[in-house]
Symmetry: C2
Subunit: 240 residues, 2 copies
């Protein structure tokens, strides 16, 4: 186990905007998870995070529990950590994404406003630059920016929250696939064609291109990937 990097947990400023400590800790950790700042061999312990943030255990514990309920962490007897997803887990996540994201992106072509469209263009531009440089870090960031933008536009907030949950759970997929140059080009092409559909507000085109996009991500992941199966994780607590 790598020692957690407490430097990265920022202390809670006293002049918080009325938000609960739990929520602040939650959002901080959620952001770190989304950007891959938590290593797979890192363990998250409430007392350590609490000390770094200058608060007590309880709000931290509740934030960690929330992340566990949402599937972003698993709780063990010795701290919380990233789930060790088996191939079956990843396949299950992809199955749900394939059901939700095509329809959602089609809806988003109606729901997105001009500012959002502008952000999508910027994200694609950043992606183009990242691919040109082979910078998988920047590619990942641009990828997240693109996804967050169209999902944020969705009027159906339940659908949006569910998609974000599942898409972020597949962090191993991003880590394992965004490094390869050929995959990078596929990602760029996919985002470009999605942007085109958004520009034309063509819902069905967006739908079909998202079907292809998610499918390519899945085959890319399972393509050169025949690692030994890990042991099954303890189940999601919400799954009684």
């Amino acid at each position: 186990m790598t020692a957690p990097d407490f430097e990265r947990i920022r202390p809670i400023e006293t002049a918080n905007r009325g938000q609960s400590l739990r929520r602040q800790i939650y959002q901080d950790l959620r952001e770190k998870l989304r950007h891959g700042e938590i290593g797979v061999d890192e363990k998250l312990v409430d007392v350590d995070i609490a000390k770094a943030a200058g608060v007590s255990r309880m709000p931290v514990r509740e934030a960690l529990l929330q992340l566990t309920i949402e599937g972003h962490l698993v709780g063990t007897t010795r701290g919380f950590a990233l789930p060790n997803l088996t191939d079956e887990d990843v396949a299950n996540i992809f199955e749900v994404r394939k059901l939700l994201e095509p329809r959602a992106v089609a809806n988003a072509t109606y729901d997105l406003d001009d500012a959002g469209l502008q952000r999508l263009r910027a994200a694609v531009e950043l992606t183009r630059e990242a691919v040109a440089k082979g910078d998988s870090e920047a590619l990942s960031e641009a990828n997240i920016m693109f996804r967050e933008t169209w999902i944020a536009a969705l009027r159906n907030r339940r659908l949006a929250a569910t998609i974000l949950r599942f898409a972020d759970q597949a962090h191993v997929v991003r880590r394992d696939t965004l490094g390869k140059p050929d995959t990078q080009q596929v990602v760029l092409d996919g985002m470009t064609s999605l942007l085109d559909a958004f520009e034309r507000r063509d819902a069905m085109a967006a739908h079909d291109r998202m079907v292809a996009f998610v499918h390519e991500a899945e085959t890319s992941y399972f393509g050169g990937h025949y690692a030994a199966k890990q042991d099954k994780q303890p189940g999601d607590p919400s799954d009684e």
Copy 2:
């Protein structure tokens, strides 16, 4: 506000099977919610439930938070309560259900074993009797039994958990629709045709019949239902 009926919160037996108190409280409340035993005007307060169960506030509080994160409750400044779903909320829930359930039930035709099939038959039989007597209470129970059975069979546990979450959130739908005799017959017909698809292990038939089934539930709800829109609820905490 109706005074909560503490009689219904059963004390935690000392010889529990190693499960955490949080989980026991959670499952108890989850079951009550699923079977409609919590009234819309009832407020759930941690100290009260804790006193009834003979435990401290914390495990109860964490169970209530989990139910809130999952969308089954909303937290207010004065206790937790059922969410007051607007028509838009219900429409959003139906949109997600329409995306997930047809595919899921198709998968279930493969995943279900003989014992499960037997339970489906029993549920349909109970439904038939309930409709004959016009007993909407028994109809609701049979309905839940049917749904729980095929969902429990799903190999994709993430998909199963997500469907259960959304289906159970629509408790207002059940309450508002299962009373009408014509709706009761529609429910019975839908379950019968789904059972038929399961008997023949016909995945596509199950898919198409679930499409029709969910669609009928939606139109039935919005049919005679033009109540005034309620105020918007505070958002789901998981929705940053």
